[in-house]
Symmetry: C2
Subunit: 382 residues, 2 copies
């Protein structure tokens, strides 16, 4: 099996939604297809959300390095594509640090290679990933549903109630909404509306890292009597000392990591962020952080300091994250509640039962079972 | 004055050179031209070196935001382009963290805007920058010369000796060479050859962040009897704890920062890196770190903790860095000794006198006075 070509395209994820930090009206993402000399065998990869597409980096730097590799250099002794070998080829001649856009370019290609390897094995991706890293893996995954983005009228709690009521009826038991993008009183009304539906300890609040530490402290004082599942990115993601101050003062669990894109950065969070292994959530985004080879290094880094793999809840309602949670026994996966978005929904409409979903047996990441996502690949697969 | 268009192109910086971490045979950089409704008035910007060109990010995200700004929104009350206003426009809808490629895209545009503002004032960029930030500024700048990259035969000290001898004859008094990409004995021979020419306390060694902390310690023990000006990036740039351990154990000055691209990251270096304000060098690359508005925030961050602006020696032999050192009273600027490289040489062939150079009075950054660099803009200015 040889890789014969790699195609990519930029997909629009434009929507009218916003969070406390950014609007999504110009958001894009990359879709990639890895082609082989077996016309039935391809690997599909899709970007995670929020950092824009990676098309030019893919075309100018990372795809050429894969295509220039010697025949067989990217395969393991069994003739299967070896994502770690491909990772080393992709990262040749890259200076250290500056883990930004390129981390997402490498990650979307890495995803396509795992999809390819799994299809070579005729297996779902989670099982292939588990076999590769020597974990047991299991197809049943705890999930939480994310909704409640700000729409045109932040004070209108109707859409938020509808989204969460529907999600609860569908079987979700943990929920996350956006806060921090409206005045405190408006957001408290939204939080109370959501808590009515979610119940105690089942609602997380995501502020997308826009608060200064003093503002975060004010809000957390105001929220002290609410039973919140976790507060997400309560300060700027790189402000480790600010995070440690929050963790030292407030008992509410913290979630962070979605805007840290490497093991270098993860290690700094572990060393300097003051997080608590008994309650906090580590949300590194696999696709945006150089993919699985790097992500496993991140998990190992925290494990070496006593953290359970169950504290990982990778960012983004992304099928790569779903399979990785299944493969490595992580804590839970995020699901975007709006199934009309390319990155929304669950594969094959798999039902959520009391907050857990079982991944179908489809080969690879099963992108064929996600119609809105699969539609993004139509041109590339033609 | 209104901006009517922004053009960019990718320039090849391919060379046979390498440092301990990367080879430059596919290196690229971006050149940008900001056009206005005054056909004689343009702003020129050029990328720094080592992180590849930023063309697609410029075209897809940052140039459109500038061109979409309301008329006058990017101007100050005197009708001059206001780089800080432009910076805010460019960074709309960008999530926090992940300071990688986009930091360089914003930085190269920022440089073009300072060039434009200075040309509107009919002044050299350093004076315009000093006026804007309220510093006195002066055109005489301390410089050091960087050469001694690895060529085809690392053990051949001939080219290294020739480069440094020539530089010394030209007036340089501080020099930097690359190490860490050859066995210790080979590098010691190169260091001794260089020290013969540079003299004590005048030679810096750049290892480009490839060493593990244990390796760094071994080398620094081996180098303990040499009078080295500074050791650059002795550990991975984001390994703040590793850096603090080096700084705590070895008296040799340390230089770092060229692979940290934001005030977020700079603040973490200040808090966790254990650096010493009496001897260490801060080498943030202005162009790669979102440009001058962010760079001044970085300087202020360190100043608030007692660091002198004289400890800043911005990375890259880049005319933006030269002018910023002049404007803000920073410590010194790097000069790439190979004048054939686009980013090499000094404006107008300005002479180096006992380690200092005086910037000519040319308007803006004076790119017309740097023939190899100006040639990169030929298509864009046609």
């Amino acid at each position: 099996m040889n890789i014969t070509g790699i195609r990519e395209k930029t997909v629009s994820l434009a929507s009218g939604l916003r969070n406390a930090g950014i609007a999504y009206d110009a958001m894009t993402a990359s879709a990639v297809v890895v082609e082989t000399d077996d016309s039935d065998l391809v690997g599909l990869g899709f970007d995670s959300v929020g950092r824009y597409g990676h098309g030019a980096l893919l075309r100018e730097r990372f795809i050429p390095r894969l295509l220039d590799a010697a025949p067989g250099a990217l395969l393991d002794p069994d003739g299967l594509i070896d994502p770690a070998a491909a990772w080393r080829a992709m990262m040749a001649n890259e200076k250290p640090g500056g883990h930004g856009e390129r981390a997402g370019a490498v990650g979307v290609l890495d995803m396509a290679l795992w999809d390819l390897r799994a299809r070579q094995r005729g297996a779902p991706a989670w099982r292939t990933i588990a076999d590769y890293f020597g974990t047991s893996g299991a197809p049943a995954v705890a999930v939480y549903g994310t909704g409640g983005h700000y729409g045109a009228d932040a004070a209108d709690t109707g859409p938020l109630r509808a989204t969460l009521t529907d999600a609860h009826a569908r079987g979700f038991r943990t929920f996350k909404i956006k806060i921090g993008g409206a005045p405190l009183a408006t957001d408290l009304a939204r939080i109370e509306a959501a808590l009515d539906i979610a119940g105690p300890g089942a609602l997380a609040l995501d502020t997308n890292g826009v608060w200064e530490p003093a503002t975060a402290a004010e809000w957390l004082v105001a929220l002290a009597d609410y039973d919140i599942a976790w507060i997400e990115e309560p300060v700027s993601p790189l402000d480790y000392a600010g995070l440690a101050a929050i963790a030292g003062r407030f008992p509410v669990p913290i979630g962070t990591g979605e805007n840290l894109f490497s093991c270098d950065d993860a290690r700094n969070l572990e060393r300097h962020g003051g997080l608590r292994p008994d309650r906090d959530w580590l949300q590194f985004d696999i696709s945006l952080s150089y993919g699985l080879p790097e992500f496993v290094r991140i998990v190992d880094c925290f494990a070496s300091k006593g953290w359970s793999a169950r504290r990982f809840a990778p960012h983004a309602g992304h099928v790569l994250a779903l399979h990785t949670v299944a493969a490595l026994g992580l804590g839970m996966a995020e699901v975007t509640l709006d199934a009309a978005l390319p990155i929304g929904g669950l594969p094959g409409g798999a039902p959520v039962e009391d907050g857990r979903v079982t991944l179908p047996d489809a080969p690879g990441f099963g992108i064929e079972e996600l119609p809105a996502l699969h539609a993004c690949f139509a041109d590339l697969l033609a």
